[in-house]
Symmetry: C2
Subunit: 201 residues, 2 copies
């Protein structure tokens, strides 16, 4: 199989999507493959697959949350990532994900993605507040008005729904999820698996 | 911190405990540290922590089981492990775990552990059936009668309960779980983390 790209399904509200957003490009570069960003609404995926966030799933399990925090701290340190838990977590991401659908094919798409991830998981902004979103976009030099208006259009709203349905049709149940060809990888653990796969092609 | 050992909490009924049983010794050997086996009853841990098996937790999530199987297949291939799903899974492991408590400090402890893991996750034996357990022990040259009788003694029964309570007191909620000093690692993903930790000491 000749591998030319990695599809990366993400939601800004998922901290592990942030980790993959930060680390996957280095792996892709090493093997000269492209990362194709695929914005989806994780809340929609959860409804369609009868899944929920790990926080919800394990909320009554003694010791689990403490371990997840410990493991996340180790991961962030190991890979030298700027990361802060968002105090507003879980954040309703429908606005910023619609923005990702709109900007995905624009030449400022990468800047948008980086800006929102940074605001959410480094700068601890409340990214379901339109005023905060607007300020964040403007500070980054993005076309705020154009993006904010686009997120209210039926075509962008439908685009996010379609992208989410499409993800579930490919057996995605959470985020981050990556595809290399037909091979699916879930979670930040997929990074090492993808590196191994590409090193053996 | 001078690291001299890795504590390995396991239950024979957990396929990922089997993976760690197979792969952790190589990592330990590389850094000249000892693996200390810590048998526990996973069903007991689940009751005490309000946890359950991933199979139960995610049984209604579309796509999750298929992904877990795909990911397990990749893992087994990558690390060249002989592994077959056990057709009797989930198996009640109280008998074989009591055997592990009894044999743990004996000079045939390692042979017992290897024998039961092999029977469960390579040879697809029904390891909650005393006849099958006895045949398996005898075929491996283990003292079948001594072990089977020991598993019926109050001291061994209490030993497994104590070990399980002790694990939960250390914030263990599942298996496999490893400790390096006070640092806890859960799941087969802990292998890579431990390797990284030991490589940096």
């Amino acid at each position: 199989m000749l591998i030319s790209n990695i599809e990366f399904f993400y939601d800004f509200g998922s901290p592990k999507s942030f980790f993959v957003h930060k680390l996957l490009p280095n792996i892709a570069k090493k093997y000269n493959v492209e990362v194709i960003p695929k914005p989806i609404l994780l809340g929609g995926v959860f409804k369609l697959t009868n899944n929920q966030s790990p926080m919800e799933t394990f909320k009554d399990v003694k010791g689990k949350k403490e371990y997840e925090n410990q493991e996340t701290t180790r991961f962030v340190k190991r890979y030298n990532l700027a990361f802060q838990w968002n105090p507003y977590f879980p954040v309703n991401t429908i606005g910023v994900m619609r923005g990702a659908i709109y900007t995905n094919k624009k030449d400022f798409g990468d800047l948008y993605t980086e800006t929102i991830f940074q605001a959410m998981w480094v700068d601890q902004k409340k990214m379901d507040d339109p005023t905060v979103i607007s300020e964040t976009l403007t500070a980054a030099g993005l076309p705020t008005e154009e993006i904010m208006e686009a997120t209210q259009t039926p075509i962008v709203k439908a685009g996010l729904i379609d992208a989410t349905n499409h993800a579930v049709a490919r057996n995605i149940f959470g985020a981050p999820t990556m595809f290399v060809g037909n091979e699916m990888f879930f979670g930040k653990e997929g990074l090492d698996e993808i590196d191994f796969l590409l090193s053996n092609q």
